[in-house]
Amino acid sequence: MKGNSSLKFEDHFQLSSADLQKILSLSLSRGGDFSEVFLEYKTYNLINMEEDIIKETAESISLGLGIRVLSGEKTGYGYTNDLSIKGVKKAALTAASIASSPRIQAASPLKLSRLEHNFYPVLRSPHLENLEKKISLVKNCYSAAMNLSSKIKKVKVSFVDQTQQVRVINSEGLDIRDARPLIKLVCLAIAEKKNKREAGYSGGGGRVGLEYFDKTLPPEEIGQDAAKEALELLEAVLPPAGEMPVVLAPGHSGVLVHEAVGHLLEADFNRKKTSIFWDKMGKKVASSQVSIYDDPTIPHFRGSYNIDDEGTIPTKTLLIDRGNLTGLLQDRLSARLMNEPCTGHGRRQDYTFIPIPRMSNTYIDRGEHTPEEIIFSVKKGFYAQKYQGGQVEDSGKFTFSVSSGYLIQDGKLTAPVKQATLIGTNIDILNKIEMIGSDLEFGLQTGTCGKEGQSMPVNDGCPTIKIARMTVGGQN
C-alpha cells in the first residue's frame, strides 16, 4: 500500500518557510504581541476484533493548521484544513482580529531548531508496519483471553496506532518539529456464571514500536489480565459504604494523583484563582511524606513528548515537595501572565484547539514502607485496585470509580469487591496520607485525560498508599 504516506511532513503543506513567515506577520497585522502556527499531519489505524472475527479496519488522516495570536490576556484562534494560501491567510486574519493595537510588531526570522533528545526512539514507525502483523497481535490477545476459561463468553480487542507529526513556528523565530508515535492494544473480556456477568479490562502501549509486544508486554498477557479480572469480579461482593481506612494499590491508583492534585495544579486554574491551590504556593498542602512530579520526559511513556504543542522543550516538574506546594504546570500564556518560567505543559488535542496547560506523566514519588506493612497496619478497610476513571472540580472535590478492589480484614486482603466510588476533597485527603510504599508503579499505558473538550494521552502512577480515612460509596 504505497502512496503519499511516505511524503515528507513539509510536502503535505504547500507552504514554504517564506510563506509561513508572511503568515506570522499577517497574523500580527492588527497589533497582536505574539503569533504562532501549529501544523499537524496525523495518521491513524484501527483494528477491531470481536465474535472471533476481525470485524473492521480503519485508516484516518488528519491534516491542518491552527493560527494563534495573543494580545495581552486575549487569544484569537483560527484553524483550517484548506491549505491554500488563501485559506491560510483567512485563518491568520481571523486570529489577528483579536488585537486592536496601533503598535504593529514584525515576526522574527524563523530559525530551525534541531532536537538533541528523542524520548521515543522506535525500530520502525508503527504506521509503516504492515497490517497483517498488527492483526496477529490482536488475534493473539483475543485467543489468550477467550481460552483462559469457559466462563469467558465475550472478548473484544482493539489495536490503534497513530503517528502525529507537528511543526510549531512562532513570531519569536521558533521553528521546531516532533514526530510522535503512539500505540495501544486493549482488551475487554466478559465472564458469565449463572446469571451473573462481569467485565474485565486490560491494555498496554505507549510511544513505542511494535517491538514493545515482544519485549515489554506480550499481547497474550493483556488478554489474560482482562479475563482474570472478569473472572475474579464474578466472585466479588458489593463494597461496604461509609468512612474507613483506604489502601490504594500501586500503579493504577495514580488516577488519584492525576485527579485530586494534578488538574488543580494546571496553571490556568491558578491564574484564574478558581483552583483551591491558587493561594497556597509554598504552603503545606499534604502530609510531609508526599512528593509529586509531572514528567513529560520518561522514555516511551504515553504522556511524554519531545516538545509540547507550543514548541517548548518540556521539563520534569516538582509539584509538591515533601508536602509543600512548589510548582505548577505552565503553558506559555499562563507563564507569561504569572511571570513564571514555562514548564512545557502546553498541549492540544489537534490543530483545531488552543493549547492549554495539561499533565503528561504524573506520579507520587516512592516512600519507605513495604506494601505488606501498609496492608498489615489496617484492621478493617478497603483496598482499591483498578479504576474506571475519576473526576475533579476546582473546589478540590473529587471522585474515583473503583472497578475492582478487596476488603482488608485484620491486615490481610480478603473478599474481592466490585464497583465502588471513593470521594473526598483533595487537601483533606492529601493530609490524611499516612504511609507511602517503596513500590512505585505506573498504570496501564492506555489512559486518556479530558479537559475543556480536549482528549490527551497521559499516564500516572504511585506506590502503595494508605489514607487514614476516606468515604467509600457502596451499597452495603
Partner: protein, 448 residues
C-alpha cells in the same frame, strides 16, 4: 460565502468517490462529508479570553467487498489523498473477516421532508461577532452582580453551521444543513477553601429560542449558591429525587444499555429482555428523531436510514432496542435510524413526563435527598450498577433544609427503573437525551 458552489462540489465529490470505489472493486461503498463552520467566544470577568472562528471539512468512507468491511476518514480533501484512501480501503477490506451481517442498508422508499424538521436557522449566520460577544459579556455581567458569586469560570457563546452529505452505492444521495447556538456560564461561590460551583447553559437550533442572558445567568447563580455551606450526612438508604438534568444523566446510561450494539455484544444487563418488564408501569421511554427543530432531530442517520419515532419502553415493558443496520441484522430487527457509522447514538431520547409538578414531588417527601449533580464515572452497563460522587439538597418534611456534598449514591439501573415512584411534568428538550424530575423509592447514600 460561495455556499452554492461549495454545495455543488461536495455532493459531486461524494458521488465521484462512490463510483471510484465501485470501479476499484468495492461491492458497496458509502461516503459522508461534513462541512462545518464554528464560532465561539469565551469571556471572563468582563473581558474576552478566547475567540475562535473556523471552517473545516471532513470525509468518511466505508467499503465492503465480499462481506468484508474497511473504514477510512480524512480531513485532507485533496483528490489525490481521497483516491488513495478509497483504493487502500478496497485492498484493506480483504484483511477483515467475511461477516454475513455487514453491508449497507437497502434504499428506503420513504424519505423525511428535511425542511419540515426546521434544523437550520438562517438568522445565526447573520449575527455579527460584536453581537455574539455582547451576549456572553451580558450573561456574565448579570451573574456577577450577585455578591455571593466569588469567582467566574466565564461565559461562552458559540454557533455552528454544519452541512452533511451522504452518498452510497445503493443510490442514496442526500444532504442537509443544520445550525446550533449555545450560551453557557460557570460560577463559583464561597471562599477559596469552601468553594462550590455549578453552571447553566442553553443550546438550541434556532437563535430566537435560546434562553436570554438573564435566564442563563439567574439559573447559574441559583444553582451555585444553593450549595453553599454543605453538610455531610450519615450513610443511609433514603428516597432520592432526581432533578431533570440528573434524569437526563440516568437516561444516558439507559441508552447505552438498550443500544443494539451493547445488546448483540452482550455488554448490557438488558440483553435478552425484549418484551419483558424492565421497569414499573410508570416508565415510558421514546426515541424520536423527527420532532421539529430539536437537538436530536435529523432526517436520516449516518447510513441514510430515515429517522423515526421508536417506542423503547412502554409502561415498563422493553419494546425495542435502538439499532444501526449492523446491530439490527444481528438482532433480527430493523434499523431504528440511530446509526453513527459503526455505533449508535440517541436521536431525541427521553422519559415521558408524568402529571405531578416537581414542587409537589418535593413537598410530599418526608425525608430524602434531591440529587442535583454527580461527579465521576461509575456506570457499569454489564451489570447496571451505578456508583457516583453526588451533590444534593437534603429534604425534611417536604422542605429543603441544607445542601449535602461529599456523598456517593449507589444503586442499580434495573432496580431504579422498578422503583420510580413519581414522574414530574417538567420535561424540557434541553439536550438530545432528557427527562423530567423523578423520585426513586430508595438508594444508598454513603457519607460519614
Amino acid at each position: 460565502m460561495t455556499a452554492e458552489r461549495a454545495q455543488l462540489k461536495l455532493t459531486e465529490l461524494a458521488e465521484d468517490l462512490v463510483s471510484l470505489g465501485s470501479r476499484k472493486g468495492a461491492d458497496e461503498i458509502e461516503v459522508s462529508i461534513l462541512d462545518g463552520y464554528e464560532f465561539s467566544v469565551d469571556v471572563r470577568w468582563g473581558k474576552i479570553e478566547n475567540l475562535v472562528e473556523a471552517g473545516s471539512r471532513a470525509l468518511g468512507l466505508r467499503v465492503i467487498k465480499e462481506k468484508r468491511t474497511a473504514f477510512a476518514s480524512s480531513s485532507d480533501l485533496s483528490r489525490e489523498t481521497l483516491e488513495r484512501l478509497v483504493e487502500n480501503a478496497v485492498k484493506r477490506a480483504a484483511l477483515s473477516s467475511p461477516d454475513e451481517f455487514s453491508g449497507l442498508p437497502s434504499l428506503s422508499s420513504q424519505q423525511i421532508d428535511i425542511l419540515s424538521l426546521h434544523l437550520f436557522d438562517p438568522e445565526i449566520s447573520k449575527l455579527d461577532s460584536k453581537e455574539k460577544i455582547a451576549l456572553a459579556l451580558e450573561t456574565e455581567r448579570i451573574a456577577l452582580e450577585d455578591k455571593r458569586i466569588t469567582n467566574s469560570h466565564g461565559a461562552s457563546f458559540e454557533t455552528k453551521e454544519i452541512k452533511s452529505v451522504l452518498a452510497n452505492s445503493n443510490g442514496f444521495l442526500r444532504e442537509y444543513k443544520q445550525t446550533l447556538c449555545g450560551l453557557s456560564l460557570g460560577l463559583q461561590a464561597g471562599e477559596t477553601d469552601s468553594r462550590v460551583e455549578d453552571y447553566w447553559f442553553s443550546t438550541k437550533r434556532h437563535f430566537r429560542e435560546l434562553e436570554p442572558p438573564e435566564k442563563v445567568a439567574r439559573n447559574a447563580v441559583r444553582r451555585t449558591v444553593r450549595q453553599l455551606s454543605p453538610r455531610k450526612i450519615k450513610t443511609q438508604k433514603v428516597p432520592v429525587i432526581f432533578e431533570p438534568m440528573m434524569t437526563s444523566w440516568l437516561l444516558g446510561f439507559l441508552f447505552v444499555c438498550i443500544s443494539g450494539v451493547s445488546i448483540y455484544q452482550k455488554t448490557s444487563f438488558l440483553a435478552g429482555k425484549l418484551d419483558k418488564r424492565i421497569g414499573n408501569s410508570r416508565v415510558n421511554v421514546i426515541d424520536n428523531g423527527i420532532m421539529s427543530g430539536l437537538l436530536g432531530t435529523r432526517p436520516f442517520d449516518a447510513e441514510g436510514v430515515p429517522c423515526q419515532r421508536t417506542v423503547v419502553v412502554d409502561k415498563g415493558i422493553l419494546k425495542n432496542y435502538l439499532c444501526n443496520t449492523y446491530a439490527a441484522r444481528k438482532l433480527k430487527a430493523k434499523s431504528t435510524g440511530n446509526s453513527t457509522g459503526t455505533g449508535v447514538a440517541p436521536n431525541n431520547f427521553y422519559l415521558e413526563p408524568g402529571e405531578t409538578s416537581p414542587e409537589k414531588i418535593i413537598s410530599s417527601l418526608e425525608k430524602g435527598l434531591i440529587l442535583i449533580r454527580t461527579l465521576g464515572h461509575g456506570l457499569n452497563p454489564v451489570t447496571g450498577d451505578i456508583s457516583r460522587g453526588a451533590f444534593g439538597l437534603w429534604v425534611e418534611k417536604g422542605e429543603v433544609v441544607y445542601p449535602v456534598s461529599e456523598v456517593t449514591i449507589s444503586g442499580n439501573l434495573g432496580e431504579i427503573l422498578n422503583n420510580i415512584e413519581a414522574i414530574g411534568n417538567d420535561l424540557e428538550f434541553r439536550s438530545p437525551v432528557c427527562g423530567p424530575t423523578i423520585q426513586i423509592r430508595e438508594l444508598t447514600v454513603a457519607g460519614e
